[in-house]
Symmetry: C2
Subunit: 650 residues, 2 copies
Amino acid sequence: MSRKRRAKKPLAPLSSPGAPTPLLDTIDSPADLKKLTREQLPLLAQELRNEIVRIAAPGGLHLASSLGATDLIVALHYVLNSPRDRIIFDVGHQAYAHKFLTGRRAQMGTVKKEGGLSGFTKVSESPHDAVTVGHASTSLASALGMATARDALGQDYRVAAVIGDGALTGGMALAALNTIGDSGRKMLIVLNDNEMSISENVGAMSQFMRTLQVQKWFQEGEGASKKALSALSKPLSDLMSRAKSSTRHFFDPASINPFAAMGVRYVGPVDGHNIAELVYLIERLGELDGPTILHVVTRKGKGLTYAEEDPIKWHGPSRFDPQTGQSIAAGLPPGDSVPRQSWSAAFGDAVTELSRQDPRVYVITPAMREGSGLVGYSRAHPNRYLDVGIAEDVAVTAAAGMALQGLKPVVAIYSTFLQRAYDQVLHDVAIENLGVVFAVDRGGVVGADGATHNGVFDLSFMRSIPNVRIGLPRTALELRGMLKEALRIGGPVAIRYPRGETTPAPEGTWPELRWGTWERLCACAPGGVTILAGGKALEYAEAAIRDLPGVGLVNARFVKPLDTAMLRELAEGSRALVTAEDNTVVGGFGSAVLEQLSAWGLKTPVRVLGIPDQFQEHASVERVHARSGIDAPAIRTVLAELGVDVPLGV
Amino acid sequence: MSRKRRAKKPLAPLSSPGAPTPLLDTIDSPADLKKLTREQLPLLAQELRNEIVRIAAPGGLHLASSLGATDLIVALHYVLNSPRDRIIFDVGHQAYAHKFLTGRRAQMGTVKKEGGLSGFTKVSESPHDAVTVGHASTSLASALGMATARDALGQDYRVAAVIGDGALTGGMALAALNTIGDSGRKMLIVLNDNEMSISENVGAMSQFMRTLQVQKWFQEGEGASKKALSALSKPLSDLMSRAKSSTRHFFDPASINPFAAMGVRYVGPVDGHNIAELVYLIERLGELDGPTILHVVTRKGKGLTYAEEDPIKWHGPSRFDPQTGQSIAAGLPPGDSVPRQSWSAAFGDAVTELSRQDPRVYVITPAMREGSGLVGYSRAHPNRYLDVGIAEDVAVTAAAGMALQGLKPVVAIYSTFLQRAYDQVLHDVAIENLGVVFAVDRGGVVGADGATHNGVFDLSFMRSIPNVRIGLPRTALELRGMLKEALRIGGPVAIRYPRGETTPAPEGTWPELRWGTWERLCACAPGGVTILAGGKALEYAEAAIRDLPGVGLVNARFVKPLDTAMLRELAEGSRALVTAEDNTVVGGFGSAVLEQLSAWGLKTPVRVLGIPDQFQEHASVERVHARSGIDAPAIRTVLAELGVDVPLGV
């Protein structure tokens, strides 16, 4: 909605990726940056943008937000003294310019690659990265903690947090702001209002923050704030005068906006691409006591015409031609003609169709419409679709409210973000056994986004909650069966699928699937070894035993409850069981099997394969699985250890 | 601070618990209530208060908040039609009057007792209880879900949420408000501003909401809002006129306060003890489209002089004389002269002393100063103490920020509330292995507060997070050893102790304790049975084997990492192991033992005792443990099943 209202302005010239970078070539640290004149900074920013486009062209990086934040990052590093001063980037995916300026230029081609730089800020990567991050809305609490530590230890560095308008509507950010205002601790909060988080922004705060509205607001409040001016110190009065000279921003020191109500000084909105103005403001605001919000308005994709025009598409584009913005299709492996679709799309198709059949189905997303495959759904069923913004807790508890009042809510959520609603699943949904379906996307290792985003804990933390059922579909077709069954049986149900692709299911097909029933894919030879695996791990297990006819294989598609009838039979009939899962080995599927065997008093040996109890650095999904020992070769090694005759070199 | 500013008004007359209740005697449902005249309502409220004091006198109930909300509850039920209209109480501990009015009067003496009524609202207890609840700040998300369901299904009932000023500063509530404002859905949010949550309220929002400030605020904004009045409908104009006639409230329809900025209509503040005014407002506001906040100011402990004067003490008093407010000490068991103190106090003493030794120690609480034993600490170290309000996520991430900048933060938190910061522990603390100590209070079954408050999941969900260490002290002395060791070794460490009492440790004693080392209390006979237990379960195990010299017993005080050297020895030397824990059997300590034995390929049978995979209804701690099969008799039964010669009848 806000985007419609945005005035069409002439777009910035197309950037020139690969062009010479004479200024950037002189910079290896923020200290080098400070040797430039202020007049040179816009040119440096343009060089940085060119370089960002260049490294993003092979695909998979966060492009639009990084371009939008470049001017701001140049200004911050020009004024502040990192690493002594702390610059905290919320989410951390917009900080490529920060990495370029802090000694990592030579490695920028390795971002998100195995052994390379992280796609986010990461403490262990550089002293200039104040926090290790990936999830949204944490920066203000981090800043509160850092400013508190500074004051407690009698130190005097500056703390700055850069938070997007979307992340600021997360409850954790709002709650932190409440304490920050009360604490009165000195810090600078840069509200990077880029008019678009990953999905289109939602919520009343977002509406409020739209520039024109804010200006209207301030004009109304102007009278009151003028009176308050007399209490201001000289530098602030100067600043006020200067602010007045611009028609584009307004400084409201003491009154009448929600930030001021929270006890936080507010300055803005200002043009987030006017580096001179940003430098001027950061210099002065950085010296003020107490917390200050500087509201800057930026444009995602800044400087890259096609990215400015469609920032959602260019949030994290795959491979493209940097000159034209044309996508470059990845070549299909030769001979592979099986149609594929993402798991997210498979879910989106299924729930769209189900909603047609059942008017009580209602889909909720915490700001992940595109990522969760819900663009089609949101168009087909706009009145049964709720985006609550970056607020996973609200998504889950609102779903509980819906379930109590007769709807069949489906919460579409990434595994890593479901971590943020553990208590809401437990307290608001599970205690009363309410019918809420969790479509848990990106379950398991996600690869390039690394440790902050791996969804390798959900089987453990969801399994610990009474009444919760958990299923891992093997195919899009099985996902449909589980979704239909979940809505039929009621209660809290998590259907968990990985990042990546599956074979599409034909429209209208709804296989019957009884919850809690496993599927025997290969019978094991009497007294042999049986593998129990679900989801992605099952794919590896299938590949592992292709030439091993004596090994049993079970699609252990339900992690809670287990198929105890089949498990008992297998445990009694097998020499050993192997469990494999794309989840931590601590408290996951393998532990569920161990717990059940222990309860029965059965002594069948069980080998538990899964993600080790360590955070996994970014690398391709396959590489992390290989390192973790759950891929096909690793499974074959385990089978050999268990006495299975495994041909070498296959 | 706000409490100091509060003007001293004459206190209401002392209530008369046990006095006749002629009006209440006529009421078995909200329909009966509506037969009273409006003039009779204050008298009814006084009867309700008398009855609440009467049932609270034996101790253990939420008294002050229930008295404060009684007038409001009478007004809500007089106007709304429950259960068709939905009244959602945030936290749900203030709703005794609601229970009295909705057909549960005869059972009100059973609140929080086994088999009796819950201390909170509970869907399965009554159709009038809109949600099952216990944790704060969820009501607005619930209301959002319910209003959404109503509109999606074409229904037209009213949805009202009653939320305290403390709970409103929780991030989840603020984030929900953001979406509510955007949704425009019809609902009434009653902000029950009682000027005190459990601890003294903190945060800028709380400051803002103080009545006098709010009135000043509105007076400043009055000019702007007058202009907006012309757009109002007739009923609203009427309301405005009426509001104007009172000097105590002000109706600000369209502008300039944080709620209005979020798109929510704001009315208030009004006297939350003036039932006639409340009825008038709820009748009219309940009919308005869109979301409306009615800000009412109430006094905790209303009508009970001593409770009004010290509402923190009277939040949840133990046994008292209702006429005088004198505490009635529980008699000590005969012959028991061992001094005892609460685990919370043991922690508070220890951390206060440690902070004296180490200036980098910094304690954080999410609004639980009293409950966590921190009153003394907050006085001794006011500059190294932060209360972030009801915002567990902020508490944890602020601690991470402190740890990054050189402090040694200790987050004092109840186990059940730590559930709300699972992601922050994982994402903000554990990935970088930051030195944050979690003092996890109320770990295990808590008894009377029931399913919403039992801390029986922490061993499972904390264990699933890489880098996290977990210890369960057996005594206050061991707690000191763990605390000191945790600060020495760094990294995320959870020290978990139960509700209840322990033997105090002498000041200045700091036992050396290496993390990850168990303690052998009794050696098992060769080839015998060994019990591994920590915390509360260890107490039961000790009692169980008092007359069984051949049974081994280990203080398995570290759940992560396990003492693998001792475990291996025990597993190889014992006929069977028994693990016992005050935690769910899903993914807890027993599973950790099973996982380790499976990794070693050892076949020693393990019996896992713990809380079954079901939510546990309220009852005494001991009763829940008996039902769960972890108390001494249950352990003896298991030992007998494992072939131990257990004398009968002991």
